[in-house]
Amino acid sequence: MPGMSMKLVLRDAGIGIALLLLIVFFSLSTEHFLTPNNISNILTQITINLILAIGMTFVILIGGIDLSVGSMLAFCAVVAGTVLTIPDFSVFQAVGLATLAALGTGVACGFLNGWISAFWGLPSFIVTLGMLNIARGAALQVTDARTIYSFPPSFNAFGSQMVFGVPVVFLIALALVAVAWFVLSKTVFGRLLYGIGNNEEAVRLAGHSLMFYKVAAFTIAGALVGIAAMVYMARLNIASPIIGIGFELNAIAAVIIGGTSLSGGRGTVIGTLLGACIIGVLANGLILFGLSDFMRQMITGVVIILAVIIDKYRERITAA
């Protein structure tokens, strides 16, 4: 987007500097932080949250929210896991079909989220809260609350594959960031998502269908949940109906720390990438630093609130 980019680049730069400072701090204060092993460890841990947060960015940009991604992750995973463990398929067929099943499930749930809230003009907060329960219930129902495991070994191997010490799954997430960045900043579609987040009525009166864009944003979020589900299974080699609890909150946190406005219309997916990194670095670094997981959780909470305060302050400066 012309010009908007400059301001947004500056905004992202600020978050990038914060991330850099964190990295410098943990590198100096702990012994193992900057080791190759630990870095790939962090990147692996970030991956799932990052993929979910990319989809969340689309939804938050149009002024919505998606509380159902954690449950949807479980639902997608158990559907895909069921397909993956059908013994008659070759590994190639099984993985292909499982991926389609995960994507299909995610897309269907996301579409429903978007369509229900757009068609009836309901707040997405409520609709996705409903979906949170529906998807979780469905995952439990489908599996009878059992965990699915023993996936093809090559599938599992893919989940821990490295390229120059970087996990392949993280590279996939990075590629998704690149695609999302392109879509949001270079296409008409992206422009109108920003437009809707800023002033829905102006966009409608300029002859655009709000319904289409709203449904699309939630559907994209759903598709990304499907991808995240496959990554989750490849890494942990299980698909359980109780995975992903609270993941939606981490994804939202990454988006907000990344500088995207909760009221919509402002933010970038690069910011989301940085936000997810900050959460991941904090989680890892604080534990290496010797703090308990409870302390880590508290500090992450403080960072979220700080991010919103900084954003508010920045908004006031640009407004004046």
Partner: protein, 524 residues
């Protein structure tokens, strides 16, 4: 600091020394970062005086008012209220010292009742802190009656009221507290002449009780009707201050804008209306229309057709229904003689119709997005290929239209919010012109726009009509319609009650029609 009118100022100041001013500002200055907002404002208001404060947008009126009500602190200068130094730290201090402001932006709470809004600062309570609803409603009733708002129920939520009535409720609220100085910031911008009359009666009443009123307005005729004295701000300075009897309309305009722009306003319009009908409505009923017959009209190529009427007469609703922003109830819309049953704004736009809405902030512009993005919002397909935006093409289109419309802007990538009201309105216009429409619907095209930009917008509208564009203009400013239009239709109670050709234009005739319908309705 010297300037051409400083001699006159000093004289005036000497004359005023004999009467003790209730409010006195001397050389007040204020900077915001690198921008000078006030560069020496001197103002003196006598007790019981109605003091007009005028100036183009950006002249410093808003900053001055913010200083007076304690929202912003001045950098230097002295302010005295009733002879004592006045340095409000917060709006609370201003109220305590008897200075009340009715702001331009609405400060009402939409979901609370009218009565609750009026009493919000001191709700009547019993011992247990429970609101005494009856007392409150009775008090609110008499407050509304006092300003002639008899037809409004105090238990209605404010969101039910039209924009004009909300403004009057704000006035009623300000009058609840006894104040010595009342500042009205463009109170008439949203009022029709009927409500303006009502407001002026209130102001006259206040004057007779010794209350001083600072009246901010873009309408010079109102200044001459109600004010005792007028002060002009330009670029943050007081450039002119005289008793109303010693000045003239032209003199004030010159003081505000300089000379060159006046010509454009005064130039005589030549009708370019053709015979070809581009848009017709037959028994067309918008969603709120109570009349079975609806509205029928023909709009011709190159014609500027005005729609006059009081607030609430259904003018905005009509435009929105034509554009399919809301679905009409019944009736036919014909475009070039063919039925055009649009289901959405999209289809109206595809049929060559554009719609500049009444409220540019809420419906017209995306304030926090670049000017270029706003200009191309309705024509993204012409600046993109396979869904990819070509930003070079987009900027070129913005610069082209910007030059055509004499847009004053920092660049295509600056946010729309950085523009003044007049230039924002030009961006909205550019958005539609980018599509080369054949019909343009304009709702209050110059609301909140300063005199200079107004003249430019008028000239633009005329130029568009000459090129064959058909324009349907809704406006509450009769002089605006009478300057612009080839023909005026008067709406009242959701129907057309009269039509005037240019030769027959007069404010009296239009108002007679407008009130006729009103009375007929009241008789039911």
């Amino acid at each position: 600091m010297t300037h051409p009118d400083s001699g006159a100022l000093h004289q005036a100041a000497a004359a005023e020394a004999t009467r003790v001013p209730i409010l006195d500002l001397h050389d007040v200055r204020k900077r915001f970062g690198g921008t000078v907002a006030l560069n020496g404002v001197t103002l003196s208001v006598a007790p019981g005086e109605v003091h007009g404060l005028i100036g183009e947008n950006g002249a410093g009126k808003s900053t001055l008012i913010k200083i007076l009500c304690g929202i912003v602190k001045p950098d230097s200068g002295a302010i005295r209220l009733s002879g004592e130094a006045y340095e409000p730290q917060a709006p609370r201090d201003a109220k305590a010292r008897g200075l009340q402001v009715v702001h331009q932006e609405f400060n009402l709470l939409p979901f609370l009742s009218v009565a609750e809004n009026i009493f919000i600062e001191h709700l009547p309570r019993n011992l247990f802190g429970v609101v005494k609803r009856k007392d409150m409603n009775v008090g609110a009733r008499s407050a509304l009656d006092a300003i002639g708002l008899k037809d409004i129920d105090v238990s209605w939520p404010v969101e039910r009221l039209g924009i004009a009535h909300r403004q009057l409720v704000e006035v009623a609220r300000a009058l609840m507290t006894d104040s010595r100085v009342l500042i009205l910031d463009e109170p008439t911008a949203t009022l029709t002449s009927r409500e303006t009359d009502r407001l002026f009666t209130i102001i006259n009443d206040l004057r007779s009780r010794g209350v001083s009123v600072i009246f901010v307005s873009h309408h010079l005729d109102e200044i001459f009707r109600i004010c005792d004295r007028v002060t002009v701000l330009r670029n943050g300075e007081t450039v002119f201050s005289r008793p109303i009897g010693e000045t003239s309309h032209d003199q004030l305009v010159r003081a505000m804008v300089g000379q060159q722009l006046q010509k454009e306003m005064a130039s005589e319009a030549i009708s370019s209306a053709g015979k070809e009908t581009v848009l017709s409505l037959v028994n067309f009923r918008h969603a709120q229309s109570p009349h079975v017959d609806g509205i029928s009209l023909d709009l011709h190529k190159g014609e500027i057709l005005g729609i006059a009427g009081l607030v609430g007469s259904g003018r905005t609703e009509l435009l929105r229904a034509i554009f399919a922003a809301e679905q009409p109830l019944s009736g036919t819309r014909l475009r070039n003689g063919k039925p055009a049953p649009f289901r959405s704004p999209r289809e109206a736009i595809q049929a060559g119709i554009g719609f500049m809405t009444e409220d540019r902030k809420e419906e017209g512009l995306i304030m926090t997005m670049p000017i270029a993005a706003n200009v191309t919002l309705a024509s993204l397909s012409s600046v993109s290929r396979v869904g990819l935006i070509d930003s070079k093409l987009e900027n070129a289109m913005t610069e082209q239209l910007g030059a055509d419309l004499k847009l004053k802007y920092g660049g295509p990538s600056r946010h729309a919010a950085t523009l003044s009201g007049g230039n924002q309105q030009k961006v909205v216009l550019a958005k539609w012109l980018a599509r080369n429409p054949q019909v343009l619907l304009l709702d209050e095209p110059t609301r909140g726009v300063d005199v200079g930009a107004k003249a430019e917008i008028y000239a633009l509208i005329r130029r568009l009509a000459e090129k064959g564009l058909a324009l349907l203009v809704v406006s509450s400013e009769l002089p605006e319609l009478m300057t612009l239009c080839d023909r005026i239709m008067v709406m009242s109670q959701h129907r057309i009650v009269g039509e005037l050709a240019r030769a027959d234009f007069s404010e009296e005739k239009i108002l007679t029609y407008a009130y006729q319908g009103e009375r007929r309705h009241a008789g039911h």
